[in-house]
């Protein structure tokens, strides 16, 4: 299984020029974006949810379960995003990422530790050259209600402190009011401010509500240069549901058909159990395809999920459940 997260970011392209090219317009206007996004095929809610429910009935056993649990662990962005975060808590999370299961050193490491911008330096110092990335939420996370100058400063600050990845939020107000050009421009500018850091675009699907909106927001985020599309901040319910993730996986699949480029997907918030994680991996496998089955292209934004995966992993290794008391937990979380 590939666990590399080191692939260089695609050469910086001028998002607006490329969008003009893809849309076949001489000037990128809100009207042009609206026509394009509203021309995407609709999503039938009942059918979409039925498909997700059918995928959730797959039964993953024995060797394939073992393989999938390790893969899921390697895809986690181990997250703490609380007002009460302290350097101690972040170091604890980093230690957990470096050695997820002290009783079994063959356990893979999560992909990244995800923190607020002011904790990046602490996380970076703790993780060093381990290969575990530091992801920072930025752009006035979670609401995104700030001026563009503040959002860019927030981003640059995190990148300067050493963030490998930036998780930005889109302006849902602008999106819902039909101002797609503003959303596009903000993503494109944040992408520039990211430099070499990979950009995850949080759409906060719980506030977009309809699957049609999720599909349009996914395409808009990819068009503007997002390296990942991400469901949620984790602060709004519902967060990462399987049907929403299914729509996003269809979007990245179709985007590759159109452009030849791959974009990653990150469901975040609400995925707590190994069983849940396996359902998402089955959906990745059968909708986007096996190319997305690596932490370069798929992530879970989660905190408590890791411990359940470790518990299941121990059970498959030893044949017995150990229990929560036997899983090291430096960072009992309340947010996720």
């Amino acid at each position: 299984m590939s666990t590399t997260t080191d692939t260089p970011v695609a050469a910086a392209v001028d998002a607006t020029a490329r969008a003009r090219d893809l849309l076949g317009v001489s000037r990128l206007t809100n009207q042009a974006l609206t026509t394009w996004l509203h021309g995407l095929p609709g999503v039938d809610q009942v059918g979409c949810e039925a498909r997700a429910a059918a995928l959730a009935t797959r039964s993953i056993k024995t060797t394939s379960k073992q393989w999938a649990i390790d893969l899921a662990i390697s895809m986690i962005d181990l997250t703490t995003l609380e007002g009460a975060d302290t350097p101690g808590r972040v170091r604890g999370l980093a230690a957990k990422a470096l050695l997820p299961d002290p009783s079994d050193h063959s356990t893979p490491r999560p992909a990244a530790v995800c923190v607020y911008g002011d904790m990046v330096a602490t996380a970076k110092e703790a993780l060093g050259a381990s290969g575990v990335k530091v992801a920072a939420v930025a752009t006035a996370f979670p609401s995104g209600r700030a001026s563009m100058a503040v959002k860019l400063a927030d981003t640059r600050d995190a990148v300067r402190a050493g963030a490998d990845e930036i998780d930005m939020v889109i302006d849902r107000g602008a999106f819902l009011s039909g101002d797609y050009l503003t959303v596009f421009n903000q993503i494109a500018e944040v992408k520039k401010a990211c430099g070499d850091a990979r950009l995850k675009v949080i759409m906060e699907t719980g506030e977009l509500v309809t699957y049609d909106n999720v599909r349009r927001a996914s395409w808009l985020s990819m068009l503007a240069g997002g390296d990942f599309i991400k469901t949620s901040t984790g602060k709004i319910q519902p967060a990462a549901t399987l049907p929403v993730t299914l729509i996003m996986l269809e979007a990245v699949r179709d985007w590759r058909d159109l452009t030849g480029e791959m974009v990653g997907v990150k469901p975040a918030g609400g995925i707590k159990t190994s069983k849940d994680a396996l359902r998402f991996l089955v959906t990745v496998n059968e909708v986007a395809g096996e190319d997305w089955l690596s932490n370069q292209w798929f992530r879970f934004g989660a905190s408590s999920l890791l411990n359940d995966l470790l518990l299941q992993r121990q059970r498959m290794t030893t044949g017995a459940y150990s229990g929560a008391s036997y899983i090291a937990d430096d960072s009992p979380s309340t947010a996720y």
């Binding site: 095929p41 039938d44 060797t63 394939s64 096996e290």
Partner: protein, 479 residues
Amino acid sequence: MPTFEYAPAPESRSVVDLRTSYGLFINGEFVDGGGTAFKSISPATEEVLAEVSEATDADVDAAVKAARTAYTRVWSRMSGADRGKYLYRIARILQERAREFAVLESLDNGKPIKESRDVDIPLAAAHFFYNAGWADKLEFASLGPNPRAHGVVGQIIPWNFPMLMLAWKIAPALATGNTVVLKPAETTPLTALLFAEVCQQADLPPGVVNIVTGAGPTGQAIVDHAGIDKLAFTGSTGVGKMIARAIAGTRKKATLELGGKAANIVFDDAPIDQAVEGIVNGIFFNQGHVCCAGSRLLVQESIADEVERRLKRRLDTLRVGDPLDKNTDVGAINSRAQLDRIVALTDAGESEGAERWDNGCELPSKGFWFRPTVFTGVTQTHRIAQEEIFGPVLSVLTFRTPQEAVAKANNTPYGLSAGIWTEKGSRILWMADQLKAGVVWANTFNKFDPTSPFGGYKESGYGREGGRHGLEPYVKTGA
């Protein structure tokens, strides 16, 4: 990077306690039949599951007499509320023994366990629950004045949904106060015989339900028996016509649920990803052994290539194999005879010039199997556009305008079902009005519910099953 292989996840067979041989269920007891016993095999492995009695004319006569006696002495004298209690009891037992029924159904029929577990058996129980509720409310079902039972009903059911078709037949018959002689298909008799045990477990009065096994001659004996007041048949149009001829001029009533060649119509504004799912569900559900299967895809020409590309990509992910594996999407073809028919018709499709594609999946070495297959470039004149294949084979045709879609959809002797995929509500209503089909699905396909009537136009038969309408054929009204 290794691919995500799903390890085998087989459902356990141990829940099913198969006997080596089964008799006929007459007057509440299992008795030996007078005919030559036959074997029921698993179509996935050709393994013999059990030996089953063949009912002769004399056995059918005994069953009809038992049903008549039960009708006269017990069932017709019982209040609707009390009949309802038995139906509720049967429904609850079916739920309790659901896993047993699901495993046996998949063994005997070859259908994937996920379908027998999630569709066939829960729906069968739901039909008993639904009809149980009507048993004491028949006067309020708008059936006409003084609704009452015909008496003894003869029922002949097919092999594609053995337990579900049994429920569709027996539940409304008993709710309305009739007694029953039922013949399951000769390739799939086992769940009906397990149902006979459920009747015993529920203390259903002897003779109210009688189950006779056998092939065509046994069915003929039921059709011809003078003691039968009403017939209900689900199966091929050919046999349906024979039954209609046989009872012409007699006092026997009949409902016939026959074949189909449904059009699944996809417009250019359809929700494409869900439409692809609907196409797959329409024709590959239950190996395409579905009378209302969406076997003709009518796709608007402007999106035909796109739909075809997405459909084939989706079919590459279908898992064909062991029906008892929980991850199997497409199971075994029910019999050698049916497989031969599918092969003959697909060969005809190829030789008549349609372009054949299948997903190239590996097939087990034993048993009866057919790859999910798509024919493109099909025209109305091709046999695969006209004849019911009853297998996992889709014929793709194109259209340019809604009028053309309607004309092509209706250009068939059948008229059982149709599907419409569009985001435009007004077009759905207009299309539904124009299509000569008993069931029209909009932005979905193959959805069934006990509250919803089901039945056909033209050579797809007459009469309705399910819902309030499904009670009508089982009662007479008036003074």
